[in-house]
Each structure stands twice: as structure tokens, then as C-alpha cells.
């Protein structure tokens, strides 16, 4: 057996040009699928990180009440049910944040800019100071009322500098117009699409602007220890909540969600405090809770990535089929070229299986070497791509980590694709190998080509 393998490896080196061409074709196919998988994997990872940073958690509990006038107001009035539901999943929770949020307009001089603001309890959220990426200014005055942290793109657009005062116009939770004065103390590196970048201020101060009491909040954001568990944990949380309080149907960003649900999601996550009238028969008592997850938000992106992966896999298979036809034809040629050699080997006592083993080993070796080269090339190209800085202000920035593409290569995925290539290579040489093995030694020795 070892002898057969040695012969097979020698055969590869005998026909260098052909072996290199076949190996390159395999390497190219493997390179394409590995790069696409690495790209989509990286995209998924960075988008998830960017969105969880943007919305401040992996699971979001928001609430709404019905006002005496029948309007749905975005606020949590009684959090007992939510606290109990969180207690039940506490073994999975890394941290819990209580926030208020609104989307309004910033005014500086004659310039205006729409901006989402999150109210943070800086005393309770100590990790906020270490996690936030400050590009200018400092957090020294963060506890002063009216201190504001803005994405640098927003500050640049408004032309506002650190220490300057700006106005912020927002709606209260009941829909009344209000204006607050803020002082810019720091800017953050814009990490995602500008319209989705968040500004931060103290929760107590924001609450006075949006008509809530100092200690109130509009959403409970939960960071999990393991983000992979997000849907299972959210399902548990939702059923716990549903047993103690009214709940909205689970909201997702897919096309099947009703406009009302989408509106609720906008309201709860972007702080767009749009007031909607609730029909009498649909009204509820107390706080009605909604549960949304990072994956619900990402469902359009996940669908897009699945489509990209499916198309890439189809292209990979088509490429492989073309390569396999090439391999099959090459080995037919090999068989013809080596007929005399095969006849000699058979005459010297090599069994049919031995001839087959030589062919299979050759094909397998080329497949393994090709995929290995393809993988190394993919790593190289991926490495070069990830060095390019695409900046932070473009639409792409939602998918970038500090301006760079992240390619996440999955070893199990690469091994799976390698196995597919090996199996297809063996299938491609099966017929030539069988024909070679079935050659009559005497006839093969007489053959002249």
C-alpha cells in the first residue's frame, strides 16, 4: 500500500505542469468558497457587534401603556413582571441596563441634524466609560446634567466643538414638543451608519426632556454571556413575561411583521416616540411588554447573507463540476500514457486494486494540495483585504469593524468543503482508474500510443 502511495506521489511530480494546472483549478474553487464564507461570517460577526453596541444589548424589553385618552405611550410603568422574568434567566445574563431613548433634532447655529439619544444611568453603568470609544473630549463631566456625547460625524455636520452648547428638540412620551440645552463633552468614533449612530446623555436629564420621572426608563437591555443563545433565552424571557403581564406578539424585522409591529419596533429601539391611538377593544391595563432580540433586528441581513452563501455554494459546485470534468479527462490521458507502465506493473504482480489505489491517491493528493493552497491564498487575500481602511462614514460602516472588513474563517466549514472536493475528485477519477485496473497485462504491454 505504501509503495502504491509512493508511486502516486512520484507520478504527480513527473507531470508537473499538468499537476499544477489541476491543483490550481481546485485551489481557485476552494479560494472562492472560502473567501465568500469568511466574508459572510465576518460580516455577520461585525454587524452583530455593531448593532448590539448601537442598541445597547442583545435582548431588549420595552413597554407601553394606554393613556387616559387612549394613546399608546412608550414607557414602562410597572417593571415587576419584567424583573421577575429577568430573574428567571439570570444564569444566562451578563449585564442589564435600564435606558430611556428618543429621536429628535439637534440645533447648532443654523444647522440641524436628526439624532437618536440614549439616556444612560452613568453611576449604575460603570462599564459604559470603558466600552465607549471616545475620539475627542473626555468623560470627566459626564455626571453633570446636560452633558452630551455625540457621534463625531454628527458633531462634524453641525460644526459643534467640545464645550459648546446646543439645543435638542424632542417629543415627550405623550407627544408634546420639548427643547433641552446640552453641552458637548465628547465625541465617539462613528461605528455604523450615521443615521443609526447614537448620542448619550444622563438618563435623569433625558427623562425630564421626554416627560418621565428621573428614575423611570423605557427599555431594559440585556447583554448575554453567550450571544449564540439569544433566541432561546429570549423565548424563555418572553414566556415568563407573558405569564405575569400583557405582552405584544414577538416583533421581528421580517416582511411578515405588521406595520403596527414595525412601528412599535421603531418606537422602542430608535426612540421614535410616535403616538398611536389604541382602539377601545384593544386597550390593556398596566404596562404591555415587547421583547426583541439582536437577531430579530438582523433578520433581513441574515436572509441576505444566507442568499449570498447559497449562491456562492452553487457557483462552487458548478466550478467543481467543471474542474472534475477536467480531472476526468486528464486521468483518461494519464491512463493512455501509462498503459505500458500499468501493463508492466500488472505483469510484476500488482493487483487491480493497487492500480486503482495509485489513481485515487494521485487525485486525492492533488485535491488536498489544491485545497491547502486555496486556503492559504484565501488567508492571504483576506489578510490584505482586512488591512484596507474603508473609513467610518460610509453605508458599509455597519458591516465594518473600525473601518475594516473582518473575515472570519470557519475551520469546520473549510474541512467540509475540502471533503466535498476530495469525494468529487475520487468520483472524477473512478472511471479512468477502473479502466486502468481492468487492462489486460499482456495487451497493455503490447500497446503502443
Amino acid at each position: 500500500m505504501l509503495q502504491m502511495i509512493r508511486i502516486a506521489l512520484r507520478n504527480i511530480s513527473r507531470q508537473k505542469k499538468r499537476s499544477i494546472l489541476l491543483g490550481s483549478a481546485i485551489a481557485f474553487g476552494f479560494l472562492v468558497i472560502t473567501l465568500v464564507n469568511g466574508f459572510t461570517g465576518g460580516l455577520l460577526k461585525t454587524t452583530k457587534e455593531n448593532l448590539s453596541h448601537l442598541f445597547g444589548g442583545h435582548i431588549y424589553i420595552s413597554g407601553s401603556i394606554v393613556s387616559p385618552l387612549g394613546s399608546e405611550l412608550p414607557m414602562i410603568q410597572d417593571s415587576f413582571a419584567a424583573e421577575e422574568a429577568i430573574k428567571a434567566i439570570s444564569d444566562r445574563v451578563a449585564s442589564v441596563q435600564y435606558r430611556s431613548k428618543t429621536t429628535g433634532t439637534l440645533y447648532f447655529g443654523n444647522k440641524e441634524q436628526t439624532q437618536k439619544l440614549e439616556g444612560v444611568d452613568f453611576a449604575a453603568e460603570q462599564s459604559f466609560r470603558t466600552n465607549i470609544d471616545i475620539s475627542k473630549g473626555s468623560l470627566a463631566d459626564i455626571d453633570k446634567p446636560g452633558s452630551l456625547i455625540l457621534p463625531e460625524a454628527t458633531a462634524k455636520k453641525l460644526g459643534v466643538e467640545i464645550g459648546e452648547t446646543l439645543l435638542y428638540r424632542a417629543s415627550t412620551v405623550t407627544g408634546q414638543q420639548n427643547i433641552g440645552e446640552f453641552t458637548l463633552i465628547a465625541t465617539t468614533t462613528s461605528s455604523s451608519v450615521m443615521v443609526m449612530d447614537t448620542g448619550y446623555t444622563s438618563k435623569a436629564y433625558l427623562n425630564t426632556l421626554i416627560g418621565l420621572d428621573e428614575g423611570d426608563y423605557q427599555s431594559i437591555n440585556i447583554f448575554l454571556k453567550d450571544v449564540a443563545e439569544v433566541q432561546t433565552v429570549a423565548d424563555r424571557l418572553y414566556s415568563n413575561l407573558a405569564s405575569n403581564a400583557p405582552v405584544s406578539p414577538r416583533i421581528s424585522a421580517d416582511s411578515t411583521s405588521s406595520p403596527r409591529n414595525m412601528s412599535a419596533m421603531r418606537s422602542s429601539l430608535m426612540g421614535m416616540n410616535q403616538i398611536v391611538q389604541v382602539a377601545k377593544e384593544e386597550q390593556w391595563k398596566g404596562t404591555k411588554f415587547s421583547v426583541t432580540t439582536i437577531e430579530d433586528l438582523m433578520s433581513p441581513i441574515l436572509s441576505l447573507l444566507s442568499i449570498i452563501q447559497a449562491v456562492a455554494f452553487l457557483v462552487f459546485i458548478i466550478l467543481l463540476v467543471i474542474i472534475m470534468v477536467g480531472i476526468m479527462n486528464s486521468y483518461r490521458m494519464v491512463m493512455i500514457e501509462r498503459t505500458e507502465e500499468i501493463g508492466t506493473m500488472r505483469a510484476l504482480g500488482v493487483q487491480k486494486s493497487g492500480i486503482r489505489t495509485i489513481f485515487f491517491t494521485e487525485a486525492l493528493s492533488e485535491a488536498v494540495l489544491g485545497t491547502a493552497s486555496g486556503f492559504v491564498l484565501a488567508l492571504l487575500i483576506g489578510g490584505i483585504l482586512s488591512l484596507i481602511n474603508f473609513g467610518s462614514g460610509s453605508f458599509l460602516s455597519l458591516f465594518l469593524a473600525r473601518g475594516h472588513f473582518v473575515l472570519q474563517f470557519s475551520i469546520p466549514e473549510a474541512l467540509k468543503n475540502m471533503l466535498i472536493i476530495c469525494v468529487m475528485s475520487i468520483m472524477a477519477v473512478y472511471l479512468p482508474a477502473r479502466s486502468a485496473a481492468n487492462l489486460e497485462p499482456a495487451q497493455a504491454l503490447r500497446a503502443t500510443y
Binding site: 393613556s67 387612549g70 444647522k111 407627544g175 408634546q176 433641552g180 410616535q274 403616538i275
Partner: protein
């Protein structure tokens, strides 16, 4: 002693009698402001009829320049419904706002989708709110907290300070200028909850249609961005009855086919 007290009392009574007349006269000169708000509403509403007009909105923005929009508006006050259908500019052709009872939608013919909107939102980024196109509801939404007399241009006016009757009105505080003679609204200042001026509306011209008055020229001036304003003029005003089908989602979809 008793005589002296009787004399003092007589003097006081004699002094108070003419003064009470003055007080009574002064009191009768102050109108019932609650009734005044009701009059303003009644004057500009069309309870028994439908209302339609062509509107031209010219928005000036120091950053974005001047934009002109042309739309048709249809109002049915008895159902608290209205429709605004945009005809210009070309990229907004067919877009519309529809209010039916408690619900309000924005229609985009490009995506052929209705999205929820509200009376509190601005119309297409202008300084006008959706609520500016519905029936007037001053008497329901506000109470008068103080008043003074004054002059606005050549007109003698009542200057009324209003406060929202509930915490769900868009502008919690308003100051309105109402003509003494006809009780027409000439100017309105809209304030935030923190009592900062947000917008001033000037009702520069009125058209009388039957017993109703419609402000056919209004200017909304943004108080936060200098030079940002929107002028709206109403033409082709009609009080003819409109078919019920106008106040439907299907109508917005149909006119875009």
C-alpha cells in the same frame, strides 16, 4: 357716635355704587375667551360640508434652499378626516397623507406602501404639521390662562395665552392673537414644554366662504433655525360635497395608477 358710623357708612355706600358700575362695565368688556376659542373653531370648520383646495407650499431653508410643493387637500370635518395628495415636485407626485378617524397614514407610490403617521409630524419636512390641515380644535385642546389687549399691525387684538388641556397636545403652550372685531386668528406662537418658542404662524389673509373663514395664506416661521419658513397658499377652494371614496386608502392607490 352711632350717628358718625352711620354717616361714614353712607359715604362708603355712595362711593361704592358708582364704582361698582365701572367694575360691571369693565367686566362686560372682557369677552368670554372660552367662547372665543369655540368661535375660532366654528369659523374655520366645515361641519356640514366637505372642503377641498389646491395648496402651494414654499419652504425656505438656509441649508437646503427653496422647495415648492403643490398638493390637493380634501377635508371632511364631520368625520375628522382629511387627505393631502402631492402633485409637485415630480419626485413626490402621488405621495399622500390620509387621516381617517384616529388613524393616519403616509402613502408612497414608489413602494406602494402605507406607513403609520401622526398629526404631530411635519408635512414632508416643511414647518407645517399634519395637524395644521385638520379641523381647528382650539376649544377642545386648550384653555386660556391669561390675556391682554394689544395691536398687531393695524388690528386691535386680544392676546391670549393658552395651555394644553391635556398632556397630549403637540404644543403645550401657545400665544394667539385674535382680532377684536371679527375674532379671526392672526398670529400664533407655539411653545415647547420648557416654554421656548418653537414656531410662529402668521395667518395673513382670510377668504370668507358662506359663514366660514379659511386662512388662505399662512406662513410658518421656525424659531430655532433663522431663515427657515414655509408659506402656504390655498386656491381653488370649494365646499362641494366629495364622494366617500376620496377618504379611502384605495383612492390614494387608484390616483397613482
Amino acid at each position: 357716635m352711632r350717628k358718625r358710623y352711620a354717616l361714614v357708612s353712607l359715604v362708603i355706600v355712595l362711593l361704592l355704587v358708582p364704582m361698582s358700575g365701572i367694575f360691571a362695565q369693565a367686566a362686560s368688556a372682557v369677552p368670554d375667551f372660552k367662547a372665543m376659542l369655540k368661535t375660532i373653531d366654528e369659523r374655520s370648520n366645515f361641519t356640514g360640508r366637505d372642503f377641498s383646495a389646491k395648496i402651494k407650499m414654499v419652504s425656505e431653508d438656509p441649508e437646503k434652499g427653496t422647495t415648492t410643493r403643490v398638493a390637493k387637500t380634501f377635508r371632511r370635518d364631520r368625520d375628522d378626516s382629511f387627505l393631502i395628495l402631492f402633485m409637485e415636485p415630480a419626485d413626490q407626485l402621488g405621495q399622500g397623507y390620509l387621516k381617517l378617524g384616529d388613524n393616519m397614514w403616509f402613502y408612497d407610490p414608489q413602494s406602494r406602501k402605507f406607513t403609520h403617521s401622526s398629526l404631530k409630524e411635519n408635512v414632508q419636512g416643511t414647518d407645517a404639521k399634519n395637524s395644521d390641515f385638520r379641523q381647528s380644535t382650539y376649544s377642545v385642546d386648550y384653555t386660556v390662562t391669561s390675556w391682554t389687549e394689544g395691536k398687531l399691525g393695524a388690528y386691535d387684538v386680544w392676546i391670549l395665552e393658552l395651555q394644553g388641556a391635556t398632556n397630549e397636545v403637540t404644543y403645550p403652550y401657545k400665544k394667539i392673537y385674535v382680532t377684536k372685531k371679527d375674532q379671526l386668528l392672526l398670529k400664533s406662537e407655539d411653545y415647547s414644554l420648557s416654554k421656548r418658542l418653537l414656531r410662529t404662524s402668521y395667518f395673513t389673509s382670510y377668504a370668507k366662504i358662506g359663514t366660514s373663514y379659511i386662512a388662505n395664506s399662512v406662513m410658518y416661521v421656525d424659531a430655532l433655525v433663522q431663515g427657515k419658513r414655509t408659506s402656504i397658499t390655498f386656491t381653488d377652494i370649494s365646499l362641494d360635497n366629495l364622494p366617500d371614496s376620496v377618504f379611502t386608502k384605495a383612492y390614494l392607490e387608484r390616483v397613482n395608477r
